[in-house]
Symmetry: C2
DNA sequence: CCCAGTTAGTTACAAGCGCAACTAATGTCA
DNA sequence: TGACATTAGTTGCGCTTGTAACTAACTGGG
């Protein structure tokens, strides 16, 4: 006879419960970054993500931005509108498909991007400082697996339950 | 002369930017769990956290709950009120300090807790399934370091900038 | 004993969010 | 070609959230 413990008999300790821990660390990340961008540049996380993607890829539709940065289309829409209002991005209608528009950084947007990138990298550097490189590699590999699995467990935006 | 790259010269790739990745995985965790609790029990993440802490520790003040589960005191206040309204917790004034009250699960609350725990553990199990135990241990150790550092980088709630 | 400072918890308010519904444009298939 | 489905993007709405302000109770130094 097996004496192995059935899952339903194990106790739950929230502070060791992985989903909880991931949510907490993600919250800290968001909050800390929000302070950096917010206090120095007056932008929020969604705006920052839009700028980051445009800085990296040059020109994208809102749909692409949402997919690349895991944001709901309404959040993208509002972030792009805000950045447009501030003169940091432009929207150019795609003549081949007039439903969509190509969003790109203006000169001012590019200057802002150039300012933020070093801060973001320094922030990341300070955060992972002192962690052994090989441990960090393991961490990132596991994180990638958990993220991909989490995506399925969570279900994508506006997707019907299959 | 050194040829090492200065940080400000490195490029930023959002999808590899750690704060972003942590935020995304935390979002998936929260969303997936929210579905489990929400659809089956009609409660949200804050309510779940309160129940989890009470199930583990038996009796706590709202302040303790907030500290243990990393929630703002207003969020705790609202979650406890909601659970009280549903008859899942009771509030008993502490006679030695009448500002605070001891919150505890009712019998119904304990039954709910007993129902949720196996689901939560099974969810976690499904999420980490197939990941090598030693990699998981490394992951969790690094996660603990990042969380602690993130707590400081983010700053606690309603704390003045020191 | 008293008064200034601190703490537990609640609430008004505004900002941010996702869902659902909508408009406008494109794709599809007979 | 024409009717129906799909897609990009916006907006109205209700819900959740954190900040700030508040009440009530406790603490401690004089």
């Amino acid at each position: 006879m097996s004496t192995k413990q059935k899952p339903e008999d194990r106790a739950l300790h929230l502070e060791q419960f992985l989903p909880y821990r991931l949510n907490v660390v993600g919250f800290f990340a968001s909050r800390a970054l929000g302070r950096v961008y917010g206090t120095r540049f007056g932008i929020g996380i969604p705006e920052w993500r839009v700028i980051a993607q445009l800085g990296e890829f040059g020109q994208l539709t809102s749909r692409d931005i949402g997919e690349l940065s895991q944001m709901h289309k309404t959040k993208v829409s509002r972030a792009v509108s805000e950045l447009d209002k501030r003169g940091l991005v432009t929207r150019a209608e795609n003549r081949a498909d007039r439903r969509e528009a190509f969003v790109a950084l203006t000169a001012a947007g590019q200057r802002l991007y150039a300012q933020i990138v070093p801060l973001a990298l320094a922030f990341e550097e300070r955060w992972i400082e002192g962690i052994a490189p090989e441990e960090l590699r393991v961490f990132e590999r596991v994180l990638a697996v958990l993220t991909e699995r989490g995506r399925h467990l969570a279900g994508a935006y506006q997707t019907e339950e299959a």
